[in-house]
Every structure is written in C-alpha cells, then in structure tokens.
Symmetry: C2
Subunit: 393 residues, 2 copies
C-alpha cells in the first residue's frame, strides 16, 4: 500500500449541491485548529448564531449549526419534536418528503402522507383537508424547496394552515436558505433545517437549524427522552446555548465551522436581498438559454426555484452520457434525476457562489456543444446569446 | 451587524483533543470541493477505506468514516447493534462508559453496568461475573482508552470474555487509534468507533468505524428498523459500500474527508508501529518531567495511556487559573477534568501531530513557570532537564 495525497480536479459545481465554494471559505477552513472550548472559539460561536439568525431572518435563540450534514439536521428536528404515537402530516412532492416519512416512523410517530405531484408546489387545500380528517395531528412537515424537482411551496400559507389546527411545523429549507426568501419569524416556522453546501456555498457537512419558542416548549415538556443522544437538543444546548458557561457535549467540527462562519460573513456583506436577486437574475438568464434551445422545465413557472432548475431530458438523449461529457470535457457537474425522475431530468443548480453570469454562460455553451454532438433535438448556437440578453437587461 | 472573518490564534493543542493539525492536513482541506458522487471522489473513498483498514488493523469491508463527530460514531454502533429489549453490559471506568449507557437506553436496550474505579483499567473478572449473572446478554461495550482518565484497558482479553458468552462487542477506540495499538482483527472486535481529532490529528468532525462480519450479520437480521435514518448502516452502505454503483444517501463532508485522507496518508508514511513508539517515547519524557516536578499521575503505570496523561492538581492550586495562564501566556491548551474529576485533574494530551519532543519541552517549561508563579508545591527548574534526558536516551 502506498496511497498518495488526493488532489481533486477543479470542477464547476452546478448540480443540486455541493455548490462551488469560494476560496475565502476554503482558506478559512485551513486556519489553525483550536479547542472547542477555547474562549476565542466560544466567541466565534456567538457570532455564528447571529449570522445564522440573519440568514434565517429570525430572533430564535435556538439557532445553530448541527455538527453533521442536512440529513442529520432533518433528523434533529424529528427526533426532538416527535414522540412515540404522535401523528405527523407530511406533505410530499418529491424525494425529501419521503425521507421525512422515514424519520417520523423511526421516531415511533404515525405519518399521514399528503401527496402532491412531483414537480409541483404543495397544495395548501390538501393539507387543510388532511388536518380536518386528522384533528389529533401534532406536527406538519414539508419541504419548502424540493431539491429533487426544483419546486418551491408557499411555506407561509402552509405554516398558517398548520397553526390553525394547533400543529407545530417542520420545514426543510435545505435548498432555499440564502438563495430565495426564507423568513422564519414572519412565516412563523417552528423548526427548520438547512445545509451548508447549497446556497450558503460552504463545504458540505453542517446543518443550520432554528427552533421557535413554541418548539422549545415542546422539547422541554417531552414525556420521553429524545431517542438520539447526539441530536438531543436538551444536551446540545449545553454547548451551543446562551449560557455563560459552555459545557462539553460533543467535539464540534472546528474547521468546518470556520468555513461556515466565513460563508455567512460573505452573505452578510452581500446582503440577503441582494443574494436573492442575484439568484433570480441568473436563473432568468439560464431559463432564457434553456428555452431558446427548446428545452423544457419540469416545474411550472410560478412554482420554480431559481437555484435548482430541473430540465426534462429530451426524447432519445442518453442522460448519463450528457452528464459524463459535461464533467469530462468541461469539468462541469450537473445533477441527475432522483427517485421517479431518475434518467428523466437533469438538475442544474445555480447556488450561492456558483450562481454567476460566467457559470450560466459556460453551462449553456457546454450543453449546446454536448447535446449537439449527440444529435439531440435542440436549436444550436442560440442559448448563450439568449442568456446574455437577459444578463445585459 | 458587521461581523468580520474569524482569525483563530495559533495554539498548541495538548488537551484531550482536538490535537494539533499538520499544515498538510489543513491545506488538503482547502482544496477545491467536488461532488460527493464525482468519480474522482468515489475513487478517493476507496483509498480512504484502505487507509482506515490499515489504521484499525482489519480486513473488515465495513470500515469507513461516519460523517459526524465521534459521539455520532458511538451512536452508530449502538443504534445498529442494539434492538429494543436487548441486554447490554457496559463496563464503565470513566465518563464515556456513562455515555454508552445513555445510548443503550435510548435504543430501548437494557444496560447492565459493571463499574470500575475511575483511573483504573476495566477488570475482566467483573465482566465475566456479570456475564454469568446475565446469560441473556447480547452485547458487551467498553472504552479501550478512557479519554476522561487516561486509563487503557485490555481490549483483547475483554473481547475474549465477551465472545465466550456469545456476545457482540462494541469498543470505543476514540483516543487510542493511531497512538497506541488497536488491532481490530487480532483482538476480534465486532464494532469500533474512533475520532478524527485525536491521534489521527485531523480536524474534528469525522468518526472512523469498523464492523466485523458477525456485526454485519446482526445488522442484516434485525427485527426492527434502525431508529436513526442518518446512521442506518443498511442505507449508509449504499454510499460507502463495495458496490460498483454508489447511491446517494447523505451529502458527504467532502473537504473534511480530504483532510482525513491526508492525515491517514501521513500515518501510513510514518508507519503505525513507529507512531505508537513515538507516542510512547514522548509520554516517557513528559512523565519524567512531571515526576521530577513532584506531580502525580492518576493512573497506575501499567494501565496508563501514553497519549492522555491525567495529572492530579496539587492541593491548594487553582485548576482553572493554571489552565488559563498556560493558554494566555503560552498559547498552550491542556484539558480540565471531566465528571467526578472536574477540578481535580489536568489532562495533558500527546496526540498525533502534537506528540513531539518540542511540545513536551514547551509544556513542561510552561507548567514549571505557571505553577511556580502560583507558589504551587513543586520542584522548580528540573522538569525540562528530566525530559531531555529521556528524549536523548
């Protein structure tokens, strides 16, 4: 055995995440490791909480990054808020709603599924009907921005309906946070989790979460212990809490947190609204190029996320061959379809640091070339110009 | 709000972890992020598994890093191997045995505690007595290297006793891996977890784990689903498994894995046996210095870990004042006591990249100064010379 150092290629990351990471963030991660109870680190943690409150638009004190990827952030919400026997309505319109169901059931909860078409927003009327039929429901859970399809749902309305029926709400903002409006306090969300590697453009591995006072009350009044020791917020808050004395729970991922801190400082410098506008503008440019080629979006225009663009693979075109050619010839990563959409759609991310006019043009030019070489039924040589027109506008 | 980039100080990390991280590892973490399904990344994952097999001295196919800190590695072992109603004997001789009990109970298991004195190795006879009294025990769990006290137990003997009673074994090697012998196959360990931030000297946030064929059989034949979706090895193995086709489970912490890969390449370059010998030699030098000052080790000499040195705080000396002075005046972090040992001991780590003659001398010199200034009852001006004598030998 003589394994050498690993030197990754320099890709352009326009899949569903991770997205491109700024050299500022990468450099921050390479700063000297210090202890997780070092006074300097503890001061940085306080800044981190402030920066995350800004990103989530909340005053929730219980706002912090879980020391693991978004899937663990999801599980943190469910294991803390769902007790055995609790009925939970999950609105599903893609892959990640299905993962929520798994979480509910593994907590001993009873999942009531409300199904919507993949690629469409969640229908608030269906949620209301389900709540009427299940008045003993304790929690409503849904995905704000479905990474598997690129559909965004009206979180404010859905949370409002849930609260009319006295339910707590768990909202997945993995793909929306930083790229399109997420307003935890204004929308009155009780628990939400996100990921570091989408529109925040940090490396993967951390999951920002936020919990309302109502959610905290529920956690404090649980009849049973949280089934996960690692994710038990009663314990985690001994480390991340507002207390002046921070107690050891687990060893925090120090350097990853340096990176998230830096990416949040960058978000603060740009301003949330400016970031949302940038995502929207580059999305419109990408859309103009895609449509000029004759490619079709999966999601109706009013329900589309700017940062995750699902495009139908044209008839007769080999999904995987196109992705491989983009990766090998252009160092450009795009995403495959997930679940029932595998082989049928491509997912083009325009997230965070990767959401630039440059990447829009590179992507459209590369796609034009690759699809042309494969004799796909598209209009050649028009996509880049169509995007440029939007970018100049 | 105008929060700036965070610039940590350059500490020397001689606490219980994290330990100092090589600039090679820090630089590796700052390499460009690529996708978690990128063919280049998938190839790196295969190397990672080989490197971890070497570190653990095992051929176990199910050897990989959990995408979260050591506490999550511990929980991964328990949630996969313990089903509701299963009886688990936990041998406790420090803080982390107590955490094992919490894990057993949160899995719905029944924990039978076998207590040993803190600061001593686990007594195999007590384990055997407990197994005789509890013939329906399914799993035996213990900590090989107690980070809270610096005691090491005879893992091979304890595993042998457990197997005589047909029990699976879960062994915590968080602090031992890389710094002192851990021989998973020779000792016949069924499940073990470690941490990236101790003697592997990577940043915190990853937990290498390894599972024997016997453990895998148990996981495959479970009657109930693993209660954690994130930690369910049946699912995780779809991503980390030997299959030619890697499927998405969660988004792996790409750059953190670059760092662990690099730290394991460094371990391979040095050689495991050389690393163990280095830890032992520097420990003997530190010990000579401590004893020359008149300071006392908590753990009897035959049961001491080289990489974690627990020293009794002399009567009348303010534990916290000493640690603060070392940190502020010498940028030197050492660890406080945990649990019942809080305020009564200091923990001096000599782990991985921090385990050097230079750090031994700096630590002893700084301690000599700080304790002297506080009028502690020590012999002044002799510690460094005593250590140098050992280092020269």
């Amino acid at each position: 055995m003589a394994i050498k150092s690993f030197h990754p290629p320099q890709r352009i990351l326009m899949g569903p995440g991770p997205s491109d990471v700024s050299s500022r963030v990468l450099e921050a991660m390479s700063r000297p490791t210090i202890g997780h109870l070092d006074p300097m680190f503890v001061a940085m943690m306080d800044e981190m909480k402030e920066l995350l409150k800004y990103a989530f638009q909340t005053k929730n004190e219980l706002t912090m990054p879980v020391s693991a990827p978004g899937s663990a952030g999801m599980e943190t919400c469910f294991v803390n808020l769902v007790e055995p026997g609790d009925k939970v309505i999950v609105c599903q319109n893609g892959v990640f709603g299905g993962r929520m169901k798994e979480n509910v059931e593994r907590c001993g909860g009873v999942a009531v599924m409300v199904q919507d078409e993949w690629g469409r927003a969640i229908d608030p009327q269906k949620l209301e009907d389900a709540l009427k039929a299940n008045p003993d429901t304790k929690v409503v859970a849904f995905v704000h921005a479905e990474t598997s399809t690129g559909a965004q749902s009206d979180a404010k309305t859905l949370v409002g309906v849930a609260h009319q029926y006295s339910c707590l709400t768990i909202v997945d903002t993995v793909t929306s946070l930083g790229g399109s409006p997420v307003k935890v306090d204004e929308w009155d969300i009780d628990a939400t989790y996100s990921g570091s590697q989408k529109c925040l453009s940090c490396t993967p591995g951390l999951s920002p979460v936020s919990f309302s006072a109502r959610a905290q009350d529920k956690i404090k009044s649980r009849k049973t212990k949280v089934q996960s020791w690692f994710m038990d917020l009663n314990l985690v808050m001994g480390y991340w809490g507002a207390a002046t004395k921070r107690a050891y729970h687990h060893t925090a991922p120090i350097n990853a947190l340096y990176g998230l801190h830096e990416s949040l400082v960058m978000l603060q410098e740009e301003g949330l609204e400016n970031s949302w506008a940038r995502h929207q503008k580059n999305h419109l440019a990408l859309r103009a190029g895609m449509e000029a080629m004759g490619l079709q979006f999966v999601v109706p225009v009013a329900e589309r996320l700017p940062q995750l663009n699902a495009i139908t693979v044209p008839d007769g075109v080999d999904d995987a061959a196109v992705r491989a050619a983009l990766l090998n010839d252009y160092q450009l990563e795009i995403g495959a379809g997930l679940g029932v959409m595998a082989g049928k759609v491509w997912r083009f991310g325009l997230m965070g640091y990767a959401c630039t006019p440059r990447n829009v043009l590179v992507c459209l030019g590369a796609l034009d070339d690759v699809l042309g070489r494969l004799n796909a039924p598209i209009r050649r040589g028009v996509a880049v110009a169509a995007a440029q027109k939007v970018l100049a506008g």
